[in-house]
């Protein structure tokens, strides 16, 4: 077992996955369960996406024992990382994966929203595409519902497909209690205390759109989720019945489980 190491493993631990998630730059990844990895159903279709698929899988699951030259090993190592990422995208939308990522989210492992009005809301990693090598990972803020680039360049090189387009939305459907209250506070550009007309006009137009949306939600008797809400609808329990995403139960929206 000890001879399958590659050039990267100065402090090599006995598990490839341990090494992988603890190495610098891979802070966004959570550890995939052994059982999940060994269930071939979960890996359907990945054999066409990953070079040296079988070797890479062996490496990830710590059963790799091929004797080969360094160049080959490097290739396999690269494939293993790619494979891990692709499986990761599937894993994090399962119940266990969501729970693991939720813990990381709560700890703020993915960073805080840079937007001032979001008051350091923790972020979630996401991809803009589910196809590998399309775009690097982005960070989603649930408070302003926008995407941001990771601060650090070592994160900016991670493939977005390793997290996928759906994960962060599923997380908040499964754990709606984690949804932060939305804020209407915003930055108003001013010059010597006076609002600037062009920006202010746009703000007013946006506020109009917002009120229209609130009105639509109100008519459908749905909470708008804004922080400083003018009390028109009190928290009535029957509101929950109208909602697509279900109520408070954490396990309610078990979406993808294998």
């Amino acid at each position: 077992m000890d001879d399958f190491n590659s050039e990267t493993d100065s402090d090599y631990t006995s598990y490839w996955r341990d090494w992988f998630i603890s190495s610098r730059g891979n802070e966004y990844f959570c550890e995939i369960d052994e059982e999940y990895l060994t269930d071939r159903f979960n890996l359907t279709g990945l054999n066409t996406e990953v070079q040296y698929y079988q070797y890479a899988l062996d490496l990830v699951t710590d059963v790799f024992d091929l004797d080969c030259d360094d160049e080959m090993r490097e290739q396999i190592e690269k494939s293993a990382r790619h494979l891990y990422g692709l499986v990761h995208a599937r894993y994090i939308v399962t119940t266990r994966g969501l729970a693991k990522m939720l813990e990381k989210f709560k700890k703020g492992d993915f960073g805080k929203c840079p937007r001032v009005m979001c008051e350091a809301q923790p972020l979630l990693p996401m991809g803009q595409s589910d196809v590998a090598n399309t775009s690097p990972v982005k960070l989603y803020c649930a408070r302003c519902e926008d995407l941001y680039n990771p601060k650090s360049s070592r994160h900016a090189s991670i493939d977005g497909a390793y997290f996928g387009t759906s994960f962060h939305n599923i997380l908040f459907q499964v754990y709606p209690a984690m949804l932060p209250p939305k804020t209407q506070k915003r930055y108003e550009p001013r010059i010597f205390g006076f609002r600037v007309h062009a920006a202010a006009a746009l703000c007013r137009w946006q506020a109009e759109q917002r009120e229209q949306m609130k009105e639509r939600l109100r008519q459908a008797r749905i909470e708008t989720g804004f922080e400083e809400e003018d009390e028109e609808i009190e928290s009535e329990d029957d509101i929950d019945d109208d909602m697509d995403a279900g109520g408070d139960g954490f396990e309610h929206g078990a979406i993808v489980q294998q």
């Binding site: 803009q128 459907q173 062009a198 006009a201 703000c203 009120e211 697509d244």
Partner: protein, 381 residues
């Protein structure tokens, strides 16, 4: 502080060279020496006089006699290189000399006062003509970084404060592409006071340089992945714009809307630049508890004429747009006034008329939101 080792450096340049002070412009000494520019600062800064002397590297007169003999030999070679104009109080010395003259505790108080004073002067300086020019150079060189928002496409940002009073908030970054403010990515800027840049600077900057292209595409070579994304974004854009039932751009777009070229008005916002949450490719409904609620923040009308509130107001009133052409509505805002300076003569008395009319109608109801009604932001709903 490194100033004692580097003999040829002034206090100002050593201050601006400190780690975390990368956003600061070097205020010219002429600006500081003009007392008019310092009006009112005396009451805000403790040990004002000493702090000012420190900033200007001026040797206080009264201390000079007592300590003269110690300094004598050092002075000889050092003063030669010193060609700064003579300020309020006596001859110039180096930061290193000054250190000998004062008690250490005294010095640290003055040092912090000097930093405060410099910051407050800086706030004023960067709104002055030479200061804003200097900041423009720094902006062009991307000294302030870029917007972290994905859809802003690495738009260059400016340092601003959210408060003009020191000690309230740290420096923030203003993105002209999404008209929002962000925390600087590096924590070393958490120690920089936002008041040293002020609330006015951000907007004034882009009004001073209206020809700056805000949403300029990245010039650096982008990878194939980015190109692919750009194509997708374009597709999305066309899809979403057709979805909102306006095929291309409906009406003729004005060359100037509310005093800003439409292409420079929040180019990072609007259809195609608003994140659309999806699960397995399906959009998440607005009615879902976790559904999108903040899209308004990143919206922008496809037809910018919707932002011409004065015109909309009069159209809704049925008063006819004939009396109120484009030049009139543009005259009502600051930048428009600057841009249309040549039309000034014609427009002024028409403007007066318009203002008069508006005053009368304002009382009856704010529904349309006249541009004169700057306090009426809440009136939209």
């Amino acid at each position: 502080m490194s100033s004692s080792s580097q003999v040829a450096e002034s206090w100002i340049s050593s201050f601006c060279g400190l780690l975390g002070h990368e956003y600061f412009a070097e205020v010219s000494e002429d600006f500081i020496e003009d007392d008019f520019n310092l009006t009112g600062l005396q009451s805000q800064v403790p040990m004002y006089k000493e702090a000012l002397e420190m900033i200007l590297d001026v040797e206080p007169e009264d201390d000079e006699d007592e300590e003269d003999e110690e300094e004598e030999d050092e002075d000889d070679d050092e003063v030669l290189g010193d060609e700064k104009p003579v300020g309020a109080a006596g001859s110039y010395r180096r930061a290193g000399d000054r250190r000998h003259l004062r008690m250490a505790s005294d010095l640290s108080v003055i040092e912090s006062s000097a930093e405060l004073l410099y910051g407050l002067i800086h706030q004023r300086y960067i709104t002055s003509r030479p200061g804003i020019q200097q900041m423009a150079e720094k902006y062009e060189l991307q000294h302030f970084g870029t917007c972290p928002r994905v859809f802003c496409n690495s738009c260059k940002v400016l340092p601003v404060g959210c408060n003009d009073t020191p000690g309230q908030e740290t420096v923030k970054l203003f993105c002209p592409s999404c008209l929002d403010v962000y925390t600087p990515p590096n924590s070393r800027f958490q120690a920089v006071d936002g008041a040293f840049f002020g609330t006015t600077f951000g907007c004034l900057f882009f009004m001073t340089f209206p020809e700056l292209e805000i949403g300029a595409p990245r010039t650096t070579s982008v990878g194939g992945a980015d190109a692919l994304l750009a194509i997708q974004a374009a597709e999305n854009k066309s899809r979403s714009s057709s979805a909102t039932n306006s095929t291309v751009v409906p009406a003729a777009q004005p060359s100037l809307i509310n005093g800003v070229a439409p292409s420079n008005l929040a180019p990072g916002l609007g259809p195609g630049n608003v994140y659309e949450p999806r699960i397995y490719g399906f959009r998440v409904s607005e009615r879902a508890r976790s559904g999108p609620r903040m899209k308004w923040l990143r919206m922008r009308p496809i037809d910018v004429n919707e932002l011409d509130e004065a015109r909309r107001y009069w159209e809704e009133r049925g008063c006819g747009g004939a009396g109120l052409g484009d030049e009139d509505t543009n005259m009502l805002d600051v930048a428009g006034a600057a841009a249309d300076a040549n039309k000034l003569g014609v427009a002024v008395d028409r403007r007066k008329k318009a203002v008069g009319r508006r005053r009368r109608t304002n009382g009856s109801g704010n529904g349309g939101g006249s541009p004169m009604d700057t306090n009426g932001i809440g009136g939209a709903g």
